[in-house]
C-alpha cells in the first residue's frame, strides 16, 4: 500500500512537472537534426536561420545542428520518425518533395503524417543548367535534341526521388521525350561538376548553386522549374513560359518540423515563434548574401503545402 501511494505521488509530480515544463519551454538548448552532411545547402541554410534562436525575442535558447546524412536523407528522417524524442528539444529539418517522394516510393519508416511541421524558411527551385560552352541556348533546343536522339540526352541531378528527379520526370512528361537522367552520389555539387566537366550534356540543379556557378562563368541557366521567375535570376524564363506544362512540384522547400507526439503547447509555441525568428533582418541579409532564396510559411500553410505535394507526387510517381 505504501508503495502504491509512493508511486502515485511520483506519477503526480511527474505530471505536474510535465505541464510546467511545457510552459517554461525551452529550458535548455535545442537540437536540430539535418539529414544531409555539413556543408550542404540544407545544412548551411539551417545554420543561418537558427543563428538568432538564443535571442530573448526568439526562443531564448540556442539551437545546435546535428547532421545525420546518408541515402538522400532517408537515414536522418528514419531516425527522426523512429528514434527521436518527442519532447520539443529535438527538431528536424525537412526537405519537400524529397521525404514525401521517398515515403511514396517505399522502403522507409516514415510518411508525411509521421511529422508535425512548424514553419518553412526557404524555397529553392530546380533549374536546368548546361555548360557555358554548350550549344543549347533554350529549353526548346534541349527538347529538340532529345526528340531527335531519344534516350541519349544525358543530364545529372542530385539523386533519385529528390527535387531534381521530380523535375526531370516532369520535363519528360511535359515534353513527351525520353531522357537519360544520371543521379549523382555526391548530391548537387557532384551533379554540377558533371555538367561543368562535360561528363553529361546538361543537368537539373539547385537555383542557389546554379546562380553561383553562373557568376563564376561556368554554366548557362536555361529554365526555372517554378510558377514564377526568381528574384535571383530575373532574366531566366520559367519552363511554363517556354511552353512546358510544369508546376512547382519540384521546388525544394526547407523548414523545421518535430516528431509526431510532441506536446501540443510546445508545437503551438514553436509555430508562433519560429517564423518570426526566420524573419529576423540579420538572417535575411545572410541568406541573401549566400544566394539562398527565402520563403517563410507558417505551420498552417506548410500543412496545406505538404498535402498538395503528396497528391501531386503520387500522381507523377504512379507511372514509374
Amino acid at each position: 500500500m505504501k508503495n502504491l501511494i509512493a508511486s502515485a505521488a511520483i506519477a503526480l509530480t511527474a505530471l505536474a512537472g510535465g505541464a510546467l515544463a511545457d510552459e517554461n519551454y525551452p529550458e535548455r538548448p535545442i537540437m536540430l537534426m539535418v539529414s544531409y552532411g555539413a556543408g550542404g545547402a540544407t545544412d548551411f541554410q539551417a545554420r543561418i536561420v537558427t543563428m538568432t534562436a538564443g535571442n530573448e525575442d526568439a526562443l531564448g535558447m540556442p539551437i545546435a545542428i546535428i547532421n545525420k546524412p546518408g541515402a538522400g536523407g532517408r537515414v536522418g528522417w528514419n531516425w527522426f520518425a523512429g528514434q527521436a524524442e518527442s519532447d520539443g528539444y529535438t527538431l528536424g529539418a525537412y526537405n519537400v518533395p524529397h521525404f514525401i517522394a521517398q515515403s511514396i516510393e517505399g522502403g522507409v519508416s516514415y510518411a508525411a503524417d509521421s511529422f508535425e511541421p512548424i514553419a518553412n524558411w526557404g524555397a529553392d527551385p530546380a533549374v536546368f543548367v548546361v555548360a557555358a560552352d554548350s550549344e543549347f541556348n533554350s529549353m526548346n533546343d534541349v527538347v529538340d535534341y532529345a526528340a531527335a536522339n531519344p534516350g541519349k540526352l544525358t543530364f545529372s541531378g542530385a539523386g533519385l526521388f529528390v527535387g531534381h528527379h521530380i523535375a526531370a520526370l516532369q520535363l519528360e512528361k511535359a515534353a513527351g521525350v525520353k531522357l537519360a537522367y544520371i543521379p549523382n552520389d555526391k548530391g548537387g555539387a557532384g551533379a554540377m561538376k558533371a555538367v561543368i566537366a562535360g561528363e553529361v550534356l546538361g543537368g537539373v540543379n539547385n537555383l542557389s548553386d546554379a546562380f553561383r556557378a553562373r557568376e563564376a562563368g561556368n554554366v548557362k541557366i536555361l529554365g526555372v522549374f517554378d510558377l514564377e521567375r526568381n528574384d535571383f535570376l530575373p532574366d531566366v524564363p520559367t519552363l511554363k513560359e517556354q511552353g512546358f506544362d510544369i508546376d512547382n512540384s519540384s521546388v525544394n522547400f526547407r523548414g523545421v518540423m518535430v516528431p509526431k507526439g510532441t506536446p501540443q503547447p510546445i508545437i503551438d509555441k514553436l509555430a508562433a515563434v519560429v517564423p518570426t525568428m526566420f524573419a529576423n533582418g540579420r538572417v535575411a541579409s545572410k541568406m541573401k548574401a549566400g544566394g539562398s532564396p527565402m520563403h517563410i510559411m507558417t505551420r498552417d500553410e506548410v500543412i496545406e503545402m505538404w498535402k498538395a505535394r503528396e497528391v501531386a507526387l503520387k500522381e507523377l510517381l504512379a507511372g514509374l
Binding site: 556543408g39 548551411f44 532517408r74 516510393e105 534516350g151 544525358t154 537519360a180 552520389d185 555539387a189
Partner: protein, 509 residues
C-alpha cells in the same frame, strides 16, 4: 605574384592571433580520435559569423591544415588514426612508438607534413588554373579505375601474405555494401537500425584499429607490470631534420602523390596517404623494413596527407565546386559572408582569397613548430601502464565514434567490428586493407553505375571505360601494380622455399 602583396595581412595582431588559435586548436582537435578535419572545421564555422571574412577563413584554413597533421599524433601514439588520411601513418609510426621512438616518429611526421603541406599550398598559389582543368578531367570512368588502382594496393599493404591482404580487402568491400545504396536507394544487408545508413568510415576506423589493441592490453592484464614500461628515447630535432631530408625519395613520392591525388574531387584525402605509402614501399631498396618502424613509411604517408590540403581546395576556389567534404564546409564559411568562390573571389575580394591562402602557408610552418614542441612531451604517453592505457583508449574510442553523428549505433558498429578484428588479427589479417576496401567500395561502385548509365545512353560500356588516354594510363598503372604484386609474391615464395631447403640442409649437417 599577387600573394606576396597580401602577406602583411597575415601578420596583423588579430589575424596572427586567430592563426595561432586555429593551429593549436586544430592540432588538439586532430589528435582526438573521431574528430576529423571536416568536423573540426564545421565546429568552428559558427565562430566565424562574427568575424570579418578574411579572419574567419584564416581560422578555418589554419584549423584544416593542422587537424590533418594532428591526426598523426593519435595514429602514432595510440594506433588510432584520427581520420582516414592517417591510416598509413599507423603502419610504421606506431611500431616506432612501441620501440620507444615515439618522439622520433612524431618529429618526422610533423616535418614531413610541413614539407608536403608547403608544397601543396605553393601548387595552389602558382598552378591553380592548370590544376582546375586537371581536376575536371576525372569523370566516372577514371574515378572507377582509380578506385580499382586503390584495390590493387590492398594486397601488398601491411600483410604477411598477399592472399590474406586481399581477403581482408574483400571483407571491407562487402562491409561497404551495407546500407542504402547511394544512387538507387536500394536497401542492402540492413539487419539493424544502427547500420541503416551504412557503415560510417570513422567509427569503423576507430574500432578496427583501437579495439583489438584494447582487448590485447586487457588480456595481458597486470602480469608484466614492470616489463611493459618503455624508456622513451629522447630525439634531438636537428637529427629529425637530417633524417627527413636524407629520405628524399620517400619525401618526394609522398609529396607528389599527395598533391596529385588530393586534386581529384571526391577521392583525394582518404587514400592519398595509403597510395603514397605503397608507392614508396615499392620503390625503396629497403622495402622489407616497411612496417617494422621504418622512417620512410612515416615520411611518405604524412607528407602525402598534408600535400593534399592545398590542391584539394582548387576545385572549390576556381570552379566553386567543393571537391571534398571539408571543402564543402569551407564553402559555407565563404557564402555566409556573401563571397562566391570562383572569379568573384579572386577579382573582387583578392584580399580575402590571398590572405586565406597565405595563412595556410604560414599555418603549415606554425603547425610544424608546435608539433615539434609537443612531440617530446606527447611521446611520454608510451610510459602509461597498459591497464590505464586500455581504459583511456576505450574511452576515446567510444567518444570518437559517438561524436561523428551523435549516434549510439555507430558505437555498436565500432565495438562489433573491433571485436571481430581482434580475432582476424590472430589469424594474420590486418586492419588497413579492410578499411581501404570500405573506403574504395562505394567510390568504385557509384562511379561504375554512373559511368555505365552514361555509357548506355551515349555509346557502349566498352568504349566508355576502355578508351581515352586517361583511362588507358590508369589501366596500365593497375596492370603494372598487379603484375608487381604477383612477381613479389612469387619471388617471396621461392626465397622462403630456398630458405626452407637451406634450413633442412643445415639441420642435416
Amino acid at each position: 605574384m599577387d600573394f606576396l602583396a597580401y602577406f602583411g595581412d597575415v601578420f596583423t595582431p588579430i589575424n596572427f592571433g586567430l592563426l595561432l588559435i586555429g593551429t593549436i586548436g586544430g592540432l588538439l582537435l586532430g589528435a582526438t580520435p573521431g574528430l576529423s578535419p571536416t568536423m573540426a572545421v564545421a565546429l568552428l564555422i559558427p565562430f566565424t559569423f562574427k568575424l570579418e571574412p578574411a579572419q574567419g577563413l584564416i581560422l578555418l584554413g589554419a584549423a584544416y591544415t593542422s587537424t590533418v597533421a594532428g591526426g598523426a599524433v593519435s595514429a602514432i601514439l595510440l594506433k588510432i588514426p584520427g581520420a582516414p588520411a592517417n591510416i598509413a601513418t599507423t603502419l610504421d609510426g606506431h611500431t616506432m612508438a612501441k620501440k620507444g621512438q615515439g618522439a622520433r616518429a612524431l618529429q618526422l611526421s610533423f616535418l614531413a607534413s610541413a614539407v608536403g603541406g608547403v608544397f601543396g599550398v605553393l601548387l595552389l598559389i602558382f598552378l591553380t588554373p592548370v590544376l582546375a582543368q586537371w581536376a575536371l578531367a576525372f569523370g566516372p570512368s577514371h574515378l572507377f579505375w582509380l578506385a580499382i588502382l586503390g584495390v590493387t594496393v590492398i594486397g601488398t599493404l601491411d600483410s604477411s601474405s598477399v592472399v590474406k591482404g586481399l581477403l581482408s580487402g574483400c571483407i571491407g568491400l562487402w562491409l561497404a555494401t551495407v546500407g542504402f545504396d547511394d544512387i538507387m536507394g536500394a536497401q542492402r544487408f540492413i539487419f539493424h537500425d544502427a547500420v541503416s545508413g551504412g557503415i560510417n568510415v570513422i567509427p569503423a576506423l576507430i574500432g578496427l584499429f583501437a579495439i583489438p589493441q584494447v582487448i590485447g592490453m586487457f588480456a595481458k592484464g597486470r602480469r608484466s607490470l614492470d616489463a611493459e614500461i618503455l624508456t622513451v628515447e629522447r630525439h634531438p630535432i636537428s637529427m629529425a631534420f637530417g633524417e627527413v631530408f636524407s629520405r628524399l625519395r620517400a619525401l618526394s613520392i609522398g609529396t607528389i602523390t599527395g598533391s596529385v591525388i588530393g586534386l581529384i574531387p571526391g577521392v583525394g584525402g582518404q587514400i592519398a596517404g595509403l597510395v603514397a605509402y605503397d608507392q614508396s614501399k615499392k620503390m625503396s631498396p629497403e622495402r622489407d623494413k616497411f612496417g617494422t618502424g621504418h622512417s620512410e613509411g612515416v615520411i611518405a604517408a604524412e607528407s602525402a596527407n598534408n600535400a593534399m590540403v592545398g590542391p584539394s581546395l582548387v576545385p572549390l576556389l576556381t570552379l566553386s565546386i567543393p571537391g571534398s567534404p571539408t571543402a564543402a564546409v569551407l564553402l559555407g564559411g565563404l557564402l555566409i559572408h556573401g563571397i562566391f568562390p570562383g572569379s568573384d573571389l579572386f577579382d573582387n575580394h583578392p584580399d580575402v582569397a590571398w590572405t586565406f591562402i597565405n595563412s595556410m602557408l604560414i599555418g603549415q610552418i606554425l603547425m610544424c613548430i608546435f608539433g615539434l614542441y609537443i612531440a617530446g612531451l606527447a611521446a611520454r604517453v608510451a610510459q602509461v601502464p597498459n591497464a590505464v592505457m586500455a581504459a583511456v583508449v576505450l574511452g576515446l574510442a567510444v567518444f570518437g565514434s559517438y561524436s561523428v553523428q551523435h549516434s549510439m549505433g555507430d558505437v555498436y558498429v565500432m565495438a562489433t567490428l573491433g571485436t571481430g578484428m581482434y580475432f582476424l588479427e590472430r589469424f594474420g589479417f590486418s586492419a588497413a586493407p579492410l578499411v581501404l576496401g570500405l573506403i574504395l567500395g562505394p567510390i568504385a561502385e557509384a562511379n561504375f553505375v554512373q559511368g555505365s548509365m552514361i555509357a548506355n545512353a551515349t555509346s557502349s560500356i566498352g568504349s566508355y571505360f576502355f578508351t581515352g588516354p586517361l583511362n588507358l594510363v590508369l589501366i596500365a598503372i593497375v596492370v603494372a601494380s598487379v603484375g608487381y604484386s604477383v612477381w613479389q609474391e612469387l619471388r617471396h615464395r621461392r626465397l622462403s622455399a630456398q630458405e626452407k631447403v637451406m634450413a633442412k640442409k643445415d639441420a642435416i649437417t
